[in-house]
Amino acid sequence: MSEVLVVVEATAEFGVKKVTLEMLTLARELGTPSAVVLGGTGAAEALAGKLGEYGAEKIYAAEGDEIDGYLVAPKASVVADLVKRVQPAAVLLASSQEGKEIAARLAVKLDNGILTDVVALAADGTATQVAFAGSTVVKSKVTRGLPLVTVRPNSVNPTPAAATPAVEQLTVTATDSDKLARVVDRVAEQKGSRPELTEAGVVVSGGRGVGNADNFKLVEELADLLGGAVGASRAAVDSGFYPHQFQVGQTGKTVSPQLYVALGISGAIQHRAGMQTSKTIVAVNKDGEAPIFELADFGVVGDLFKIVPQAAEEIRKRK
């Protein structure tokens, strides 16, 4: 069977991201998964165990400052060279900012079609995408080149299938035009050890109704009790209650967790765009007419400052 290249997403803090395991699971349906690690020196060695656990038969590693010190262009060059050499059946990347950006450059370098935000991929290359704020399901195909696809987190249930991958170090030859955008600093702002927003199985979000930044502690507390990530509506972010990288909605992140809890969020279309494909939705809002209740599997009309602490207490009791 042909190789399927999976471009690995990982973080220093959490290691291999869940979307990578989803992609490896998906890749096994299409061919033989090969993981491509693009990062600093030693990155592949640190991730090899986990990648093997989910079926990576091979790991291609491109490491070092030439890869890590510039914005995506050197990574795209490495993957393009690899694609030309191994002629894979498909290339899968995460539908994250960086994944889409590498894919964008690959599409131009290889004169190849590209499909983003894919939630399922059939063996014949037909991809399923969800469009227009989750209101439309689209089936598409790349018609020039190989399936070059970015996979949306929380689309596939990752299942292990042990393999012992051999690691092949690739030679990194970044051209001058690959090195135009230089990363001079990386600053961590994520606090605590909560799961990443787009990957979390549970997301607890706060909106304008939370009232102020300090009150977001309530949202965080419930998120922690449920083992989830914290999100925020645009209204909450614009009001300075919570940082922008946690914004869920049309101009923020799209999430599709098992459980989405909306606290003090009215459910404007801007917000629904980012969360309405969640499996189960729960809402607390003082306005019983709020549109969020049209989506919610369970809704409580009332004061979130009474309801949320009581819920938190009840969860603690049951633990």
Binding site: L71, K100, V108, I114, K141, V183, A188, H244, A273, E314
Partner: protein, 259 residues
């Protein structure tokens, strides 16, 4: 500094949006079409840079005739002129082909800085800045929440999952922005009146040296096989808190096995 801002006309994301049943493209005919919201932040950033450093701001749009409305709206915020790439053969173009056309247009505009929104609200594909950078051999600084211009040196804070990266490049470059970067101005009455007289140059594919079969359905690198509307979610149980709302909430979560 010669700045070009990419502006896309999109169907209003606040209303119902559809794909056409005849050719599977975005239904623009029946939609209320507006400037892609994120592009307004790119226009604002361009105007701020012009105010601080001098230069000229040009709007570049690829789209059908009706995109003229969005171009005038963009000009009413303050840019100097616009270029509208319009050609019937462009209908049905994929992202790869679109980048070919925009790159050809940018090639004629000699920009020091190209600004655009991080994504459009219709496709949300987020690929255009890097596709253009790849074609033009210029730097792409994407996902900026802050942009600093110091002579020919550009520095951005790029929003990431973990925090932000500081990324720097020399002009010419393309920078895409998030809506956290600024607060776009509202067009003034004077601005709206002035926009009517600002030059809008139209370019067809022949002006750009791009063949008709490289774009549109003929040149598409991907195709939509089918599409359907998802059934709308229906609300479930709604209770009014009478002192035990929190407990009821947890009982629901327990039956769904979340606690």
């Amino acid at each position: 500094m010669n700045i070009v801002v990419l502006v896309k006309q999109v169907p209003d994301s606040g209303a119902d949006r559809n794909l056409r049943t005849d050719d599977n493209t975005v239904d623009r005919g029946s939609a209320n079409n507006v400037i892609n919201e994120m592009d307004e932040y790119a226009i604002e950033e361009a105007l701020k840079i012009k105010e601080a450093h001098g230069g000229e701001v040009t709007i570049l749009t690829m789209g059908p005739d009706r995109a003229t409305e969005s171009i005038r709206k963009a000009l009413s915020m303050g840019p100097d002129k616009a270029v509208h790439v319009v050609d019937d053969a462009l209908h049905g173009s994929c992202a790869v082909a679109t980048s070919k056309v925009l790159a050809a247009a940018l090639g004629q505009l000699n920009a020091d800085l190209v600004l655009c929104g991080s994504e459009s609200t219709d496709g949300r594909v987020q690929v255009m800045p890097h596709m253009l950078a790849e074609r033009l051999g210029i730097a792409a600084l994407t996902g900026a929440r802050k942009l600093t211009v110091d002579g020919a040196t550009l520095t951005v804070e790029r929003q990431t999952e973990e925090g932000y990266e500081v990324v720097t490049a020399s002009t010419p470059a393309i920078v895409s922005v998030w809506d956290t970067i600024n607060e776009p101005r509202y067009p003034s009455f004077k601005g709206i009146m002035a926009a009517k007289k600002k030059p809008v140059q139209t370019l067809a594919l022949t002006d750009l040296g791009v063949a008709a079969d490289e774009v549109g359905f003929a040149g598409a690198t991907s195709t939509v096989v089918e599409h359907s509307k998802r059934p709308p979610r229906s609300g479930g149980v709604k209770v009014t808190d009478e002192g035990s709302g929190g407990t009821q909430l947890v009982e629901f979560l327990a039956t769904e096995k979340f606690v």
